[in-house]
């Protein structure tokens, strides 16, 4: 197992190098001048040229890439063209917000989608199945951006039971930076009021982000469960006189989860990248927001940094899934 993990981590290095190379070429040929964007409004041409030289943008593509990789080996991701901050500081600032939001959304979606999928498989065509189908239609059919605005309108604007967005209440002082995760940092600071505030602020964006996942995972769990329930070992388990819940939860579900689990691994990366719309509506300063600014301002170093993080998270999420496989199915070993 350890060898397998090591192999995957080495694989991650090559994936990262490949992605940086592809991204570098794409960004080089994108229309737009990062030096001009960095110079700000009304900058004189000579000022723009000085910035171009300072950023190394006057060099040929291969020199720029080699310089970037050389710096990367030293852990230097460069400085943001827009904010001039080191990219590593930008990532440290924005990534924890996303890593709080995305796993919470994933947790919500699993907690809702798996039972819903199981119930709809057990009672096809009944109320649970209809609910599952409704979720699927709503979750997949409505743009997440619109759902976010509607959720905000209902829960904040009309019912006034949840905040409009943000990670903390207006005027609240954030906890001292330890991990950047407000949930963790507020607990470390022993500030339960702030922890509660952070949880409340997290709930609505996480629920909105979870909705499309509920749709996909519940439908996949349903179809997977329907397949498993017809297998011989399930019939045998029932014939042995095991209680129905035990047959379903311990025997059938465990196998049926393999397919949804694979999907969840894939979806984590997508959620991280796709959280932009939710972050935008809920003023959630996460990595999606960072990517948006980077694309708009052709902030190549930040975009490279964000892409690498996405890549690492994606590979790690799938590594976690692989490890979980061996728990769910003892026949799988590495």
């Amino acid at each position: 197992m350890y060898l397998y993990i090591l192999r995957r981590l080495i694989f991650l290095v090559f994936v990262t190098i490949g992605i940086t190379a592809i991204l570098f070429v794409i960004m080089y040929f994108l229309p737009g001048d990062p030096a001009r964007a960095a110079a700000g409004p009304g900058a004189k041409p000579e000022h723009v040229e000085r910035i171009r030289i300072r950023l190394g943008l006057d060099q040929p593509l291969h020199i720029q890439y080699l310089t970037y990789m050389k710096n990367l080996m030293r852990g230097d991701l460069g400085n943001s063209i827009r904010t001039r901050k080191p990219v590593i500081v930008e990532l440290r600032t924005y990534l924890p917000a996303s890593l709080e939001l995305v796993p919470t959304a994933m947790l919500f979606s699993v907690l809702v989608a798996v039972p819903l999928g199981v119930l709809s498989a057990l009672r096809p065509g009944r109320a649970a199945d209809a609910t599952s189908r409704l979720f699927a239609a709503l979750g997949m059919g409505m743009p997440v951006f619109w759902v976010a605005l509607m959720a905000q309108f209902i829960f904040y604007g009309k019912l006034d039971i949840l905040p409009f967005g943000g990670r903390l209440s207006t005027g609240a002082v954030p906890p001292e930076h330890v991990t950047g995760f407000y949930l963790i940092d507020s607990l470390l600071a022993g500030d339960l009021a702030l922890f509660k505030d952070a949880v409340i602020h997290l709930s609505l964006p996480a629920l909105v982000l979870a909705l499309p996942e509920v749709a996909v995972i519940s439908r996949l769990t349903r179809s997977s469960m329907l397949d498993v329930l017809t297998l011989d070992y399930v019939r045998t388990a029932r014939a042995k006189g095991l209680r129905e819940w035990r047959v379903i939860v311990v025997h059938a579900l465990k196998n049926a989860l393999l397919a949804p689990l694979t999907l969840m691994g894939m979806q984590v990366g997508w959620l991280l990248a796709g959280s932009l719309f939710v972050e935008s509506v809920f003023s959630w300063g996460g990595i999606g927001f960072l990517a948006y600014h980077a694309i708009y301002k052709r902030d190549f170093p930040v975009l490279m940094g964000v892409t690498m993080v996405m890549c690492i998270v994606f590979v790690l999420a799938n590594l976690v899934v692989d490890i979980l496989y061996s728990y769910l199915d003892p026949r799988i070993s590495y």
Binding site: A37, T83, L168, S169
Partner: protein, 541 residues
């Protein structure tokens, strides 16, 4: 069992690795104050705190970048500048500098500064801080430094007198000063890391002397400022105790928050919502003409629009009133010149071009195109309602002349790349003239001087006139305001006569505020800013 434990151990290791990767190994910029256990502020505590929402996050609290409007609004509350622009009289008034004189050769500006100004750390603002501010900007060569290339050196004459020496006379120099915010020299030196002039520290802290000081911030969400008790202008009379800037991307969310009483000012209301707000007696729409002029720039190097008669004919077929009504809900005003009426030396004698389809058709025939028969490709940044409405209007009106409009929506950076390439497709661009300071030379020169042809955000029309270039060069060294006014009025006249563009609107800057917000005045020298110190909250619950 062993197998499960093994799997979970591995899972734990991977998750721990992720967590460790996100925790700081190097110290991130610290908040200004060590945070104390916090309860969200109670409503009553907010009764004299102004809460305003913007759509763009201030990525730093560093005054070097206050030429960006998202940072500039922070500078206005946390810092002071030597001079201030007075919007209602369009003149510069003393601020940190209580008086100044200009040498006969126009090369040395000597400023006497106020003797009672304190920075937020309690230290005194002296001439040395002013010199340090200019030296720092020159060294960083970034942000507002671009307006200071004429500055050769700065000398401290005594503790409260500073002399700025220019390398060549520059009549626009003073107008760049409202954006040069004085920074605390000792504060920068105490927080300098690896010769960064305190830049890392200023990402999350302020080192100013302004009426409000930064107490905490959350990226992309909020920055909280409290009043600085020792502010040199004092706190007698009615003032606001603090201001919280929120960054809310969506105007729909800003609207919800205003309606829920959580927001006092929405800085970017949707134009479609403005009539609704106006009808509601609980709120007020505060609108002013900004220095931003919106128009259709013709690239005079392209076929058809290289003919001045064609440009004049097409301009006659521009229904600017429609764009004013449908694009910005009637706020703003029709543009007659590339220099906005809110700026000094605006030529109000220039007549508005009437919307006259018959004349347009006749003129197009005179130009050799009685039935039109050509296409104009128009590049524009998508997503702004006044631009979308303009495209619709042009498609309809020019279509009646037989001229086909081909819209080319794109993002800002793609438009930049196209404008810099004379061979790129568009024949015209929907374009803003967006001055970086409230001064006519700074406002017009980049867009109309021959030296700026083909530069993004500058002379995108590729038009030039040697006489206009000469007038610019004369105007920048002319010290007599009356003569300068004459020069810049003539420049505007020549530009409009050449029809380098169809000038459409002086864009409004509109905000929505609760009715208890008083004292707001739009300041074109620091776009989208709030002069919170001179505002009041009368009867806020």
């Amino acid at each position: 069992m062993y197998r499960k434990a093994f799997a979970f151990t591995n899972l734990f290791i991977v998750l721990a690795l992720v967590l460790v990767a996100c925790s700081a190994t190097a110290e991130p910029p610290a908040p200004t104050e060590p945070p104390a256990p916090t309860e969200p502020p109670a409503a009553s505590a907010m009764s004299n705190i102004l809460t305003a929402a913007h759509s763009e996050y201030a990525f730093t609290f560093e005054p070097t970048f206050c030429n960006w409007s998202d940072v500039g609004r922070i500078c206005v509350v946390a810092y002071d500048a030597l001079l201030k622009y007075k919007p209602d009289t369009k003149e510069l008034i003393p601020w940190v500098a209580k008086e100044w004189k200009i040498s006969d050769d126009g090369l040395t500006y000597t400023f006497k500064i106020e003797e009672r100004i304190k920075f937020h750390d309690g230290s005194e603002l002296t001439a040395s801080d002013v010199k340090f501010t200019f030296d720092r900007l020159k060294a960083l060569d970034d942000g507002v430094a671009q307006n200071l290339h004429a500055v050769g050196s700065v000398d401290v004459v005594d503790d409260y007198t500073v002399a700025i020496n220019l390398s060549s006379p520059n009549a626009a120099f003073l107008f760049g000063l409202p954006l040069v915010f004085i920074i605390n020299e000792d504060g920068v030196k105490a927080n300098e890391v690896d010769g960064d002039w305190g830049a890392a520290y200023l990402l999350q802290n302020d080192l100013g002397s302004g009426p409000y000081m930064l107490t905490s911030s959350i990226p992309e969400q909020q920055a909280v400022f409290e009043k600085f008790d020792d502010y040199w202008k004092g706190w007698e009379g009615d003032h606001i105790d603090g201001v919280t800037f929120l960054w809310i991307k969506e105007s729909a969310t800003q609207r919800l928050m205003v309606e829920n009483g959580e927001l006092d000012i929405s800085m970017e209301p949707s134009a479609d919502d403005l009539p609704v707000w106006k009808e509601n007696p609980d709120y007020q729409v505060l609108s002013a003409d900004s220095p931003v002029v919106f128009g259709l720039d013709y690239r005079v190097i392209k076929e058809h629009v290289d003919n001045p008669l064609v440009r004049k004919a097409l301009t006659l077929a521009v229904d600017a009133q429609y764009v004013l009504d449908a694009g910005v809900a009637g706020y703003g005003s029709l543009a007659r010149s590339p220099l906005a009426s809110s700026l000094p030396y605006h030529n109000s004698d220039i007549e508005l071009v009437p919307f006259d389809m018959d004349k347009a058709k006749a003129l197009l025939a005179e130009a050799g195109y009685p039935d039109g028969g050509f296409t104009v490709k128009i590049g524009y940044e998508a997503g702004q309602p006044w631009k979308e409405r303009t495209i619709e209007m042009l498609q309809q009106n020019w279509g009646k002349l037989g001229v086909k409009v081909e819209p080319m929506g794109m993002d800002y950076m793609a438009q930049e790349a196209m404008q810099q390439d004379p061979k790129s497709e568009p024949d015209a661009y929907l374009h803003h003239i967006w001055p970086s300071a409230a001064e006519p030379d700074i406002a017009l020169r980049p867009y109309f001087h021959g030296d700026h042809k083909g530069k993004f955000g500058e002379n995108a029309s590729y038009w030039s006139d040697p006489e206009v270039d000469r007038l610019f060069d004369e105007g920048i060294v002319e010290a007599d305001p009356a003569k300068r006014e004459e020069i810049y009025r003539e420049i505007q006249k020549r530009i409009v006569d050449a029809t380098t563009a169809s000038w459409i609107l002086e864009l409004p800057f509109s905000i929505v505020a609760n009715k208890y917000v008083q004292g707001y005045i739009y300041n074109p020298s620091v776009h989208q800013s709030l002069d919170v110190y001179n505002m009041r909250l009368e009867g806020k619950p």
